[in-house]
């Protein structure tokens, strides 16, 4: 791991310890864990040093994201939200806004990004939240759902309609008119603080508006790009945790007079898990290389990484459940959590089907080789 993230894994292991199952059960990550990681810049390690961040490359941040994901997908999910908020501010914000917000995100505060609405899930072009200019203020009205990490967030980056296009606006969670209501017992990443956010005539200074006038879907695609690469690496982490648990079990558990690993049908599961982990890792590495090189291929490579990562993680977690059998068939076991968390990864940041549509569109339009 490159220098900006030296020691980061030890910090995470120290903070998480063996508590991920408990956080999953209670649906809460302790505030001091999130604040400590935020204060060290670790929840959005890609923020440039000039903005108070660690300036990690996508490749290094990706490997770190996978590490966190192998320990606790809820925590990794909070990281994804914080990183996506920082990336959106980096991309859409002015220099003044970078200076205003980024040091906070790398310095102890927490953030979420709100896209989905009751009638705008996969079809984000249907979103109806509005950001309306009123002299030197703006008024935000709308209803956002399933906003990851909103329960913990100090600031919520809300995407909405703005004039004839779109904008994002940084909404303090404490602003009058903001109501954050937790999603009750989500099926996966249970401690990631998913919440519905109601914005009732929220008035903010116009300086809180990031960008403005971009086509809605370009803005959404831009913001989601970070979420997708982060989720993809998180899925690599899920696969690594599953592979570790499955091979550990298969090495030590004996049935019919021999180790599970020596039963061919179990051995195939192990081979498939290793294959899944390697496939997801390589596709993520490629996408991160595109990010680090500033290649336009990053756009499609990121969707591909998310698609491959989520599908492989869902399959791999199911395989690990099968290998572990009753040993993992109880709430909170690393493989049982992975099974629920991985499936959720096929639904968020562009469902498997939406990613397939994007990739199909690319296949149709790409130049001949």
């Amino acid at each position: 791991m490159s220098e900006p993230l030296a020691g980061a894994r030890e910090i995470v292991d120290d903070l998480v310890g063996d508590r991920a199952a408990e956080w999953d059960r209670t649906g809460l990550i302790p505030d001091d864990v999130l604040r400590t990681l935020s204060a060290r810049g670790l929840l959005c390690a890609g923020v440039p040093e000039a903005s108070g961040g660690l300036g990690a490359s996508s490749a290094a941040n990706g490997e770190f994201t996978a590490f966190v994901g192998s320990r606790c997908s809820s925590l990794r999910s909070v990281m994804t939200s914080q990183g996506m908020a920082a990336w959106t501010i980096q991309r859409l914000g002015s220099a003044q806004q970078h200076a205003e917000y980024l040091p906070k995100l790398a310095g102890g505060q927490l953030a979420a990004v709100a896209f989905s609405e009751p009638e705008a899930g996969s079809d984000l072009s249907a979103m109806t939240t509005t950001i309306e200019q009123d002299d030197d203020t703006v008024v935000v009205r709308g209803q956002k759902v399933w906003t990851t990490a909103a329960h913990y967030a100090d600031m919520i980056v809300v995407v909405g309609r703005y004039g004839s296009g779109a904008a994002a606006v940084v909404v303090p969670a404490s602003a009058p008119g903001v109501t954050v209501t937790r999603v009750a017992q989500p099926s996966g990443c249970r401690a990631a603080g998913h919440a519905n956010v109601t914005l009732d005539e929220v008035r903010l200074p116009a300086t809180a508006v990031l960008g403005g006038g971009q086509p809605l879907m370009l803005l959404v695609t831009t913001a989601l790009a970070y979420g997708r690469i982060s989720v993809a690496w998180g899925c690599v982490g899920i696969l690594r945790a599953c592979l570790d648990a499955a091979r550990g079990h298969a090495r030590t558990r004996t049935q019919f007079g021999k180790r599970l690993a020596d039963h061919q049908l179990v051995a195939r599961h192990l081979a498939n898990l290793l294959t899944s982990e390697q496939i997801a890792t390589r596709v993520c590495e490629h996408a991160s290389r595109c990010w680090d090189q500033g290649s336009p291929e990053m756009v499609v490579a990121t969707v591909l990484a998310k698609q491959v990562g989520a599908v492989q993680a869902a399959q791999g977690a199911a395989t690990a459940v099968q290998v572990l059998g009753s040993a993992a068939a109880h709430e909170g076991h690393v493989v049982e959590r992975a099974y629920r968390d991985a499936k959720l990864m096929e639904l968020i940041e562009g469902s498997t089907e939406i990613c397939e549509l994007i990739l199909a569109d690319h296949a149709v339009s790409m130049p001949a080789t």
Partner: protein
């Protein structure tokens, strides 16, 4: 516009035209509305942003991400020339 800047603008337009035409597999006139004609998806729009940043060593942030700056090859050319405005062309 000086002679050097004019040459740079022309070369920029040619380079952007080559990239867009290659991607959409069609001849694209510099003044064709890429969004209106349905040639450009949001994914491709983002590819365009990243491509321009990489190919011309510029950063396109905030207000510069407006649709109007990407509507046509001519608009993208103007954006790149403006963002490079402070610099001397590399070949002088």
């Amino acid at each position: 516009m000086s002679m050097d800047q004019a040459v740079t603008a022309e070369a920029t337009e040619q380079a952007i035209t080559a990239f867009v035409s290659e991607r959409v597999k069609a001849e694209v006139p510099a003044d064709q509305d890429l969004f209106g004609s349905g040639l450009v998806s949001s994914m491709f729009a983002m590819e365009l942003v990243v491509h321009l940043e990489q190919a011309f060593s510029v950063q396109i942030l905030g207000d510069d991400l407006k649709r109007d700056n990407f509507r046509t090859i001519a608009a993208m050319t103007a954006l790149v020339v403006r963002l490079r405005g402070g610099e001397k062309p590399a070949d002088v």
